[in-house]
Point group: C3
Chain length 140, copies 3
Amino acid sequence: MLRQALHEFRISTRGRGLYEITREVSDWVSRAGLAGGLLTLHLRHTSASLLIQENADPDVRRDLESFFTRLAPDGDPLFVHTVEGADDMPSHVRAALTAVSLSIPVKDGKLALGTWQGIYIWEHRLAPHSRTITAHLVGE
Amino acid sequence: MLRQALHEFRISTRGRGLYEITREVSDWVSRAGLAGGLLTLHLRHTSASLLIQENADPDVRRDLESFFTRLAPDGDPLFVHTVEGADDMPSHVRAALTAVSLSIPVKDGKLALGTWQGIYIWEHRLAPHSRTITAHLVGE
Amino acid sequence: MLRQALHEFRISTRGRGLYEITREVSDWVSRAGLAGGLLTLHLRHTSASLLIQENADPDVRRDLESFFTRLAPDGDPLFVHTVEGADDMPSHVRAALTAVSLSIPVKDGKLALGTWQGIYIWEHRLAPHSRTITAHLVGE
């Protein structure tokens, strides 16, 4: 019979960048003891994202950062909403261009991630922040 | 025991822009009477998006619009598919860059949105449209 | 009573481009025999995407490809991670800008896709690849 579980993850970021959370998330999924099901993560913020990306070469994350910095530069004179800082509106843009919710099936008791896939929280603000992710699991 | 509910939301847009639907969606979730679960929204169109963004300062939405207008301008000579208007292909690009489905957990009987998060339908076409969102809820 | 199903789709791509998988996915959903529910797809790769887009005019797909090629060109001197080829880092960028998971409700026994919506796997690498999608279905 299907059942569900809910959990909150709190992650402290140290400013802009990608922070891997695959381990914490996988551990929680394992403890739920489901053979098969679906994990969904939702980030409760509008200036950070959830991202599944390559966890092998750190240069991939550095290059992703470079690309998004060029695409949505801090202090862009296009923006009117500047009261929260030169990096705030670019952070909202980055969040709109990426994702705040993600779903990953659970198969044979574990997350069905690809070999090179890691789950990341992407902090877009320059200053450290405390971020909350709500996780939902359904399966049996 | 887990149960589910399905619903269709119909939203009339008045041309390009962000339209908040947090209230309608939250009300439907509340009426379902689940303590915990997962809400998923899917937009049945290819020239509009679903977006979770800041619902405090309206300038944030204006700046998002400015950014996407600069990134994917109407009438871009790059595009071959122009038969449906100069704003059609940029609308498909915006839809590809953002999201057509979103999932948000339900916790303590309500949507687990962050303090500043609102749910929006983002109309990318210049003309008014009638848009349909299918909603799925699972939980107990 | 709610039940679930899991499945793996394997798709062989012939290099960069959009490959429609609506038929295979719809067929599997139909065979599951649910009146209502939710389908979730997750792509197990970091250099390809899942996309819901217009399945009418092939020029739409060609124009999407042109736009993303201009936005994240192969061989961009910005990138440090070039060991896997000039098209590898742009592929990770495209994957970050689009989606690797998608959810679509099932209603009246079939996928609640819009009239013009097709489900695509978007291969971002230039060379052919074998791609795996894990599918999860919950409903009754």
